[in-house]
């Protein structure tokens, strides 16, 4: 569960990026955050994974108040949250497999276990045949699947995606969104920020 109470974020003195925001996202929910460019969508996500701190207000993630989280507690928070970006943020110095493995290496997991988990995640997303490739040689859709694999491989409770289909064409975007639906169907809370209202309409809210 994610809760925001009267959260404001001011980067500069004159205009707030977020002002007195109250949100409740139940566990296991699939939520879109929409709004025009500059509305504060990215800022909201950054607050949730501890990349920025709110100027005021409280943020609860799984009952833990992260508004004033100390620097040393941030890694623990991030291990419970997978994050996906529009620009993928893959490392060109590592191949596909090693990009995904990084998320498990930082946990100090043994290599065998890492190999097993990374491979099964790549297979689930249908890119295991490209695991030795340099990410830069992949198509946009494939790169985003690698990034999603990295976000999911340590089995986070929450996945945050900031314009995950912003640089992809229609067909590929639908595939990516189907992956998020599937992730959500397995019980993970998914929060997707997008300025693309059409996508939100197509996805719709499935009746309970």
């Amino acid at each position: 569960m994610i809760q925001l109470f009267h959260v404001s974020k001011w980067y500069q003195k004159d205009v707030p990026a977020l002002q007195d925001t109250n949100i409740l996202i139940p566990k296991g929910e699939f939520v879109f955050i929409t709004g025009a460019s500059g509305a504060g969508k990215s800022t909201l996500l950054k607050l949730l994974f501890g990349d920025e701190r709110p100027t005021s207000g409280q943020i609860l993630v799984h009952g833990r108040n992260i508004a004033r989280l100390s620097k040393s507690k941030i890694p623990t928070l991030r291990r419970e949250i997978g994050v996906v970006f529009q620009d993928f943020k893959l490392l060109s110095s590592r191949n596909v497999f090693d990009n995904v493995a990084l998320a498990l290496e930082v946990l100090g997991m043994p290599r065998r276990e890492i190999g097993r988990r990374v491979f099964s995640m790549l297979k689930r997303l249908g890119i295991h045949h490209k695991m030795r490739a340099n990410p830069l040689t992949l198509s946009g859709g494939e790169q985003q699947r690698v990034a999603i694999a990295r976000a999911l491989v340590n089995e986070p409770l929450i996945v945050l995606a900031d314009e995950p289909t912003g640089s992809l064409d229609q067909e590929v975007s639908e595939h990516i969104m189907n992956i998020f639906s599937d992730v959500n169907a397995r019980g993970t809370t998914v929060v997707v920020a997008t300025h693309n209202l059409d996508m939100v309409k197509t996805m719709g809210r499935s009746p309970p």
Binding site: S72, P75, V83, L102, A103
Partner: protein, 296 residues
Amino acid sequence: MRRFISSLFRALGNLRQSWVVSTITTAIISICLFLVGGYILMIHNIDNIMENMQGDVRVTIYLRDGFPMSDTNFLQDRLTGLAEVESVTYTSKSDALVEFRSMLGNDEDLLEGMDEIPLPASLRLTPKPEYRTSEGIHSILGKIGDDSLVEDIQYGEDWLGRLEKVLVVLNTGAVVLGGILSLAAIFIIANTIKLTVLARRDELEIMRLVGATEAFIRTPFLIEGLIQGLTGAIFSLGFLVLLHKFVVKGLAATVFDIIGIRSLEFLSTNIMIAILLSGMFLGGIGSIASVGRFSR
């Protein structure tokens, strides 16, 4: 332990990946330590030569003719009893002549035809090592006092005082130069390592994104710094050995004779260990400083 080994492997991987910058860092550490080490080596040997010369510090008391031997013995005993004095030897007039002749060596025939050479007898006083300073000599002179037996007193006051000043300057120089070079080294090394960190900024960002702790991120950098520092220090010691050999070879044996030493010494084991540790310290501090700047 497994964590350390994995950090070590990551560090080695990074060193291989960014070998150009790593080599530059290592070379800079090596040059800085070579300069400091070379200066210490020079000071160490100059100190040595000086000490050798200080060993020669003696006070020669020339004695008047015509006093009974018992007076001389009495004076010798009194001086030997002084706290500052190590030994007092008596040189008779004939001893002095023999010494003078042997000093002339092949030119001894110069003395041919001279019946009597008016060389005075003397007492030669060697101060204890801690009193072989101009201050020490002066306190001894005060205690010799006025004695009608004493004709003249000679000692190397002039060069002794100058020697002491030179030693002070050299030792201060070592500390100052060492300090400046170390600061410059830390600065240069921090900036060089910053290049590696900059080159890997994306990697650091993503590691933080997926929940890496600061320790996980920084340990490999620290290990890299320590390895670079140690390697640089080993190279600097190697170059110092070469420098030492080269200078010893370059200086002819006659030069050593003149300055009164057999050869030039190399650095002591303690100093060599200190240089190795300094290398690791410089590399470690440099990397911690540069990674720290990119954390938030």
